[in-house]
């Protein structure tokens, strides 16, 4: 049975696109057939993070409007043969995305893939509500910071009321993914702790992604962090999170960055 997963947050810049690419690639590496769908109409970026920006011909809107077939718009990843991308449109016409069009495309993707991962735009407008509309599960990407936690709470409220599942009286299965976590700062009381965030949001934890240079490095070269450097701390955390999505029980821990001696000596932070 195919699963539709929305990666959402409310707040921008917390790591939705990075997490979509990393989780999608990790699930594909474990043998699942995965499509990642960019819902950020007008500001597409998943193609860039996936390293497929030069291969986009048709997009989500073209398929919604019947200009292109789904098979023409899907881009196969060059590294993993069971990972695909459906890019967003770069044209600014956000109204081109309709509820009925999204319903049709998601239904068709369900027949072809094990996982349909929808990368939501920031905000709570049309793009964000349509990205979560037909989801079975949701990953709420949250930074240990007050504005991000507040927006996550708002998004959780929307997942419980505005989705097709909620309207049928069912639940969207929700998971919090904490990104940019710095365990040192949290233990010194400078940053909200994991327990603080989970307590406030009352939603189960999917994973803890440590703040790391590897995330930026991977997006610089257009590769999901789980493919670019699978041994790095954030990649290991994403791979564990993907296994949990697949129903495995994996002990929760914060993978730590192995600091080089010189970095430690000079007090350089992993950023």
């Amino acid at each position: 049975m195919a699963k539709v997963l929305v990666v959402t947050s409310g707040k921008g810049g917390v790591g939705k696109t990075t997490s979509t690419a990393a989780l999608g690639a990790a699930l594909a590496q474990s043998g699942e057939r995965v499509v990642v769908v960019d819902f950020d109409v007008g500001l597409r970026n998943l193609d860039l993070v996936m390293g497929a920006e030069r291969r986009v011909v048709f997009d989500l809107i073209n398929v919604v409007q019947g200009v292109a077939k789904l098979s023409q718009a899907l881009i196969r990843d060059k590294r993993l043969e069971n990972l695909w991308l459906l890019p967003a449109s770069q044209t600014r016409d956000k109204d081109a995305l309709t509820d009925e069009g999204v319903r049709r495309i998601i239904a068709e993707l369900r027949t072809r893939f094990d996982w349909v991962i929808c990368d939501s735009p920031a905000g709570i407008e049309r793009g964000a509500t349509l990205a979560m509309r037909y989801a079975d599960e949701a990953v709420i990407v949250t930074n240990p910071e007050v504005s991000s936690v507040r927006d996550s709470d708002r998004i959780i409220g929307m997942l419980d009321s505005k989705t097709a599942r909620a309207e049928r009286g069912e639940q969207v299965s929700k998971h919090v993914l904490i990104t940019r976590y710095d365990s040192g700062r949290a233990s010194r009381g400078e940053m909200l702790s994991i327990d603080d965030i989970l307590d406030i949001l009352a939603t189960p934890l999917l994973g803890i992604i440590p703040e790391s240079q590897d995330v930026l490095r991977a997006s610089n070269v257009g590769s999901p962090v789980t493919l670019n450097n699978a041994a790095s701390a954030p990649a290991r955390a994403y791979i564990d999170a993907a296994r949990r999505l697949n129903g495995e029980t994996v002990a929760m821990m914060v993978p730590v960055e192995r600091k080089r001696f010189m970095d430690r000596l000079l007090g350089r932070r992993a950023a």
Binding site: E145, R150, D153, G189, M191, L192, S193, D196
Partner: protein, 99 residues
């Protein structure tokens, strides 16, 4: 001396507990408001409608403030009235009584 000592201890304890407490108060309020009409907005509209039945209001001279506390909140409506506004009221009253 004691203040600076407290500040020093406070700094060492970090600001995360403050963040946590602020979020808890705010979210308790926001969750209770979800799907509810905007009560503050309605109060503001209706209070201004009642006052402007009697006095001509300059919208720039009306301040509405809200302060939400843990156990009590206050709504402050501050309306600046021009001198001689009661004369204006007297001349306007007959209209109002007719209506």
């Amino acid at each position: 001396m004691s203040m600076s000592l407290l500040r020093l201890l406070g700094r060492r304890a970090g600001s995360a507990p403050v963040a946590r407490e602020r979020l808890q108060i705010l979210l308790a309020h926001e969750r209770s408001q979800r799907g509810q009409p905007d009560l503050l907005g309605i109060l503001r509209e209706e209070i201004l409608a009642v006052v402007s039945r009697h006095v001509k209001l300059d919208p720039d001279k009306v301040l509405v403030k809200m302060d939400r506390g843990k156990s009590m909140s206050t709504l402050e409506v501050d309306i600046e009235l021009p001198n001689g506004f009661d004369q204006l009221v007297r001349t306007r009253l007959p209209d109002h009584q007719l209506a």
